[in-house]
């Protein structure tokens, strides 16, 4: 277990180094002159050159890369070209908002998705099974930002129930969490149903029923626990998907998180911010995948890492 975790950790570091390099190369391939864009249309040639020198953009790319890496090793992500605050500060200011939103969205997804999936599997072929599976199918085929816009129109503009801008109170979590959570709930419901159907046909379920256990215990303990490995996998993977989905959802709801920060920074060429944001996203994504791997062992004692 320890050796496995250690091997995984080293591998993760290599992947992250690659990700940092990859984002560095990509962002420097973006056409256009960063110094010129930052200085604005009124700036003189001299101003632009001064700005370029002060940001270190006049040095060769290889030198910039090594400066970037050595700063990274010291935990220094650089500072924003625009606000002059350090990237770490910018990220720290937005990170809680992003993390909270992904937690509430996942909560929505699990609370809606698993019961529907379990119920649909038990009542296979019933009217509710059909309806919920059609709904789940539509849910995975829908652009999340469109769902967000519709929720805004219905619950915010027409009914005036929830705010759709920013993050002032707990109520402002409702619409973004639903937007992100419903698509994931659809995925979880479909997979829970399929995986429960697999398990419900097994001999040990017949045995459990045969020895007179209550049906609720058969379903919740004997069936659901055995069906949970693919479900946990999908939840882990979907958490990564949530992170990507947050980029869009945060933009729709003007949410002060990392996703919107990256979009804004990309559009304004604040490359240090983009780079830092992308790296933090990649780190979170990779750590989530690692945790998903490790959680298998806890759920299924047969798997030894």
């Amino acid at each position: 277990m320890v050796a496995y975790a250690l091997r995984k950790l080293i591998f993760t570091c290599i992947v992250l180094l690659g990700a940092a390099t990859c984002s560095f190369i990509l962002l420097h391939l973006i056409p256009g002159d960063t110094a010129e864009a930052l200085a604005g249309p009124q700036a003189s040639v001299e101003d632009v050159e001064n700005l370029r020198r002060s940001l270190g953009l006049d040095r060769p790319l290889s030198e910039q890369y090594f400066i970037y890496l050595s700063n990274l090793a010291k935990g220094n992500l650089g500072s924003s070209y625009r606000t002059k605050r350090t990237v770490a500060e910018e990220i720290a200011a937005r990170w809680p908002a992003t993390l909270m939103l992904s937690c509430t969205s996942l909560l929505v997804a699990v609370v809606i998705g698993i019961p529907i999936g379990v119920y649909a599997a038990i009542k296979r072929g019933s009217f509710l099974d059909t309806i919920s599976m059609i709904a789940a199918f539509i849910g995975v085929s829908m652009p999340s930002f469109w769902l967000g816009l519709i929720l805004i129109v219905v619950f915010s503009i027409k009914l005036g129930l929830f705010p759709y801008y920013g993050r002032e109170s707990l109520l402002s979590y409702v619409l973004p969490s639903l937007t992100l959570g419903l698509a994931v709930a659809a995925n979880i419901a479909r997979l829970t149903r399929a995986s429960m159907l697999d398990v419900l046909n097994q001999d040990y379920i017949r045995t459990a029923r045969g020895k007179g256990l209550k049906e609720s215990r058969v379903i919740l303990v004997h069936a659901l626990r055995n069906a949970s490995i693919p479900i946990v996998t999908i939840i882990g993977l979907q958490w990564g998907f949530l992170l990507g989905g947050q980029v869009v959802t945060e933009t729709v709801f003007s949410w002060p998180g990392i996703g919107r920060m990256i979009v804004d920074a990309l559009l304004t060429r604040d490359l240090q911010i983009v780079q830092g944001g992308i790296l933090v996203m990649a780190l979170t994504f990779t750590v989530l995948n690692l945790l998903t791997d490790i959680s298998y062992a806890i759920l299924d004692p047969r798997i030894r890492l």
Partner: protein, 274 residues
């Protein structure tokens, strides 16, 4: 696949019907509607009604004609990006699975690095490199899906590499390239085609997302994601502007997913969902 099997699967039929209808609309539809670019501010924000079935937008442009003309962008986004992803996946996955060892290690490490980013972020960065435009989201989504296809092709090739028919081909003196292209790849196309079809839906969603974020298609192109972005300031006064383009995207993706699920049921019964 036998004909009666197709007829017995209503969801596959529905999916095919939706897709054929969309292809028909995107090919001949533009000849039947007015120009999607003509502005007429005297009729702006006309709600859906008899004159303008789906209403007009903030420049007085007919929403229906914009949707009809925009259909080809979404359909081709699905096709082009999946074609790029599949082609790249074959190119990288086949040697990785066939040769193994350090070739495999290097290619898989590259894939893991690309997969360390959420797909949308990678696509956004690629779009910025390529510059905004109607075709760049398709390229970006295609490139960012290459690692997924590479893994799939590699797994397929790996599972067949030591099969008797490959052994037989090798003993007749076939070279590596011949074995890969003539023997291995044709035998692992089933799962790849299924994956490609299923991927097409998410590729359309991703391309629309990029345009929605202002990084893909630019105004006045009638791309559906860009139309939704343009509708955002008018949610309060003209919510219908935000409804129809999203509905169009959803229907397209539903059609593709229905076909993908149906194909999977026939080509790979092991994966069949109950």
């Amino acid at each position: 696949m036998k004909r009666y099997e197709i007829l017995n699967n209503p969801s596959l039929l529905l999916g095919l019907f939706i897709l054929l209808a969309l292809i028909l609309i995107s090919v001949i539809g533009p000849y039947f509607v007015s120009s999607p670019y003509t502005q007429n501010t005297s009729i702006k924000f006309t709600p859906p009604g008899r004159d303008y079935l789906l209403g007009t937008d903030n420049f007085g442009r007919d929403v229906l004609s914009r949707l009809v003309v925009g259909a080809k962008y979404s359909l081709s986004a699905g096709l082009v990006s999946v074609a790029i992803g599949t082609f790249g996946g074959l190119l990288l996955g086949a040697p990785a699975g066939y040769y193994g060892k350090y070739i495999d290690n290097i290619i898989m490490l590259l894939c893991d690095i690309m997969l360390a980013f959420p797909g949308i972020i990678l696509s956004m960065a690629i779009v910025m490199v390529l510059g905004p435009g109607i075709y760049t989201p398709m390229l970006a989504v295609g490139i960012s899906s290459i690692p997924l296809f590479t893994r799939l092709v590699r797994a397929q090739v790996l599972s067949l590499r030591d099969a008797p028919f490959v052994e037989a081909a090798r003993s007749t003196g076939a070279g590596d390239l011949r074995i890969i292209f003539k023997h291995l790849l044709p035998n692992c196309m089933g799962p790849i085609i299924i994956q490609a079809t299923l991927r097409m839906g998410s590729a359309i969603l991703m391309a629309a997302t990029l345009s929605f974020l202002g990084m893909g298609a630019q105004p006045p192109e009638p791309e559906w994601g860009a139309m939704l972005n343009a509708a955002r300031p008018y949610l309060r006064t003209s919510p219908y502007l935000a409804i129809f383009p999203g509905l169009a995207i959803t229907i397209t993706v539903i059609g593709i997913n229905l076909v993908g699920d149906g194909l999977r049921d026939y080509l790979d019964p092991k994966l069949r969902e109950r």
